[in-house]
Amino acid sequence: MGCTFHRKVHPSTEFHVLYVWKEKPMKMRKFRHKLIDFTFLIPALILFFGVMAIPFFQGFGIAFTNWDGFSATYDVTGIKNFLDLFHDTQVYTAASNTLVYTLITCVGVNFLAIAIAVGLDGNVVGKRFLKSAMFVPIITSLVIAAFMWNRIYGEVFPTYLGIPSPLTFTAQVIPGISLVCLWRDTGLAMVIYNAGLQSIPEDMKEAARIDGANSLQIFRHITFPMLAPAFTTCVTLWLGYGIKVFDYPYVIVSGGMAKAATTLGVFVYRTFFTNNKAGYGQMAALVLLVIVVIVTSMTTRLLRRREVEA
């Protein structure tokens, strides 16, 4: 009998407690929970709208006007700014500079990063130190990097190699800037490729080696296909960085050569703050955005398809 008494009372009390607790203020509680959940999003939303979304949409309002950036009045000029971009020789210089810079850095960074990552994956004495050392350039600020490379180009190159600084010739200034980017960013890309290399099972390479494949064949048929996801990421990243680049040319080159080193990013900045053509600059910035979106999304799609095939 004692047993039944226990069984009868205990579950019913619990049920009772649950019943009272849950049923009555259910709607209020649910609403309160939803509100609390929403507060997790609020700080991010405030920052996102204040810093990115609102200025982004305001930009469309500026892009179709001839506003100089500070006067109270301006006229809406429609797509005139857009058409003017195609008649501006500065835009062509900037676009071709950006293209050259992006090609050199994207190809160079990925090539060097794969080569060094694969090299350091093999039997190398002290490879952990070397991997860390490759990363040191990225932690230095660009201003200091520019200072160091001005010493390399200005003093080391002429003295030891007999080459005058590339930053003094119109045709060589962009390759010169690209080299600084290669130096600074290779370590970053290498870290990504390193992670890809870690995911390749060792027995796969071992099996190929037993079957008589040489190092080059192993790289061609095993390592490189397995690096495909990292390759997609890195190519897309550095294409984006290249097209958007502002600080490398702006900081490294100063004075007379600055004009020859103008990229699209620098062109937008100068149009806003030096030439005081806010409407025109904003239109250029929007075109830049469209280029970035088209190029990066197309490369991602193309490379992802290749990944599947490989």
Binding site: L41, P43, F48, V51, I116
Partner: protein
């Protein structure tokens, strides 16, 4: 009690996983160290050391006298260690104000980023079946691609109208806003791997959302939080473009802008400029030595999972 035990168990699990993934690289075996290995090692050392030459030049310059820097032998070792450069550079550059500003901005910005991004990533993942929350994942992903140039001028104008140019706190908020989408993305990838059972246990025990998050989920996010900290510190400490737009007065100037001014002013005193550069690299370099494993992990988390 029960959920505490589970928490500890998972932490151990996650730690073991992390250990396994970092220790994956195979050790050098004795029979492999022969002539070929030595030659190849040497080759890799030379390549990597090529990347360090600019630092060598910087260090050598910083210990030379002004006359010695003009002798057309930039790579040669200084005749004697001329230490005065450092004291003069620190004295002249007045980098201490800029240094404190940068430190303040970096610390504040990093704390804000960690708090804001972890919270928003957590709620996006846990409520991903709710369309209102799920859509933010895609909006933040799109925002990662947005070039700063597109929002630069309207943002500058807004800040100007609000009188927030040359304001270090406004600068911090802008940096946090710009860095947020990327870091939210890193956090989302990690929160997905945190088991939900722990939180359910906590909620049955009567924990609210906030307590569940801060006491149970946030401690589990520690590895990725370290990564976010390192990446944010690098991004804010080294930022040039945003500071260039927002900050003109020397009272609120951050380190990269002050460095730039000092270098331009002292371009005929290369030894002083070099010494100033070394002094301002040191803090971030020391941080790097202690936290380098998190840097590697974070870039991979952000890049490959994203």
């Amino acid at each position: 009690m029960s959920h505490l035990e589970i928490t500890r168990g998972t932490q151990v699990c996650i730690k073991q996983e992390a250990l396994q993934s970092t220790k994956k690289s195979k050790p050098l075996r004795a029979e492999h160290i022969h002539g070929k290995t030595v030659a190849f090692s040497l080759f890799m050392w030379v390549i990597v050391l090529l990347f360090l030459i600019p630092f060598y030049v910087l260090v050598v310059y910083a210990f030379k006298t002004r006359e010695a820097t003009m002798l057309n032998n930039p790579l040669s070792f200084p005749a004697s260690l001329y230490l005065d450069n450092f004291s003069v550079a620190i004295d002249k550059a007045k980098l201490n104000v800029a240094f404190l500003n940068s430190l303040q901005a970096t610390v504040l910005g990093t704390i804000l980023l960690v708090v804001v991004c972890s919270m928003v990533a957590y709620i996006i993942v846990r409520k991903s079946r709710n369309k209102f929350y799920a859509i933010w994942q895609y909006i933040f992903l799109a925002a990662v691609m947005l070039p700063f140039q597109t929002i630069m001028f309207p943002l500058y104008k807004n800040l100007c109208n609000m009188g927030m140019l040359n304001n270090l706190y406004a600068y911090v908020l802008v940096m946090v806003g710009l860095q947020m989408p990327f870091n939210v993305f890193i956090y989302i990838g990690f929160v997905k791997t945190v088991p939900i059972e722990l939180e359910e246990a906590a909620q049955i025990d009567g924990c609210g959302r906030y307590r569940t998050f801060w006491q149970i989920v946030f401690p589990l996010l520690k590895p990725i939080t370290m990564t976010v900290i390192v990446l944010s510190v690098l991004a804010i400490w080294n930022d040039y473009q945003v500071a260039l737009v927002m900050i003109k007065k020397s009272k609120v100037m951050t380190l990269p802008i002050a460095q730039q001014q000092f270098i331009t002013a002292q371009i005929s005193y290369l030894n002083l400029a070099s010494a100033a550069c070394i002094v301002s690299i040191l803090p971030i370099f020391i941080m790097f030595i202690f936290l380098q494993k998190y840097i590697a992990k974070g870039i991979v988390a952000g890049a490959v999972k994203g």
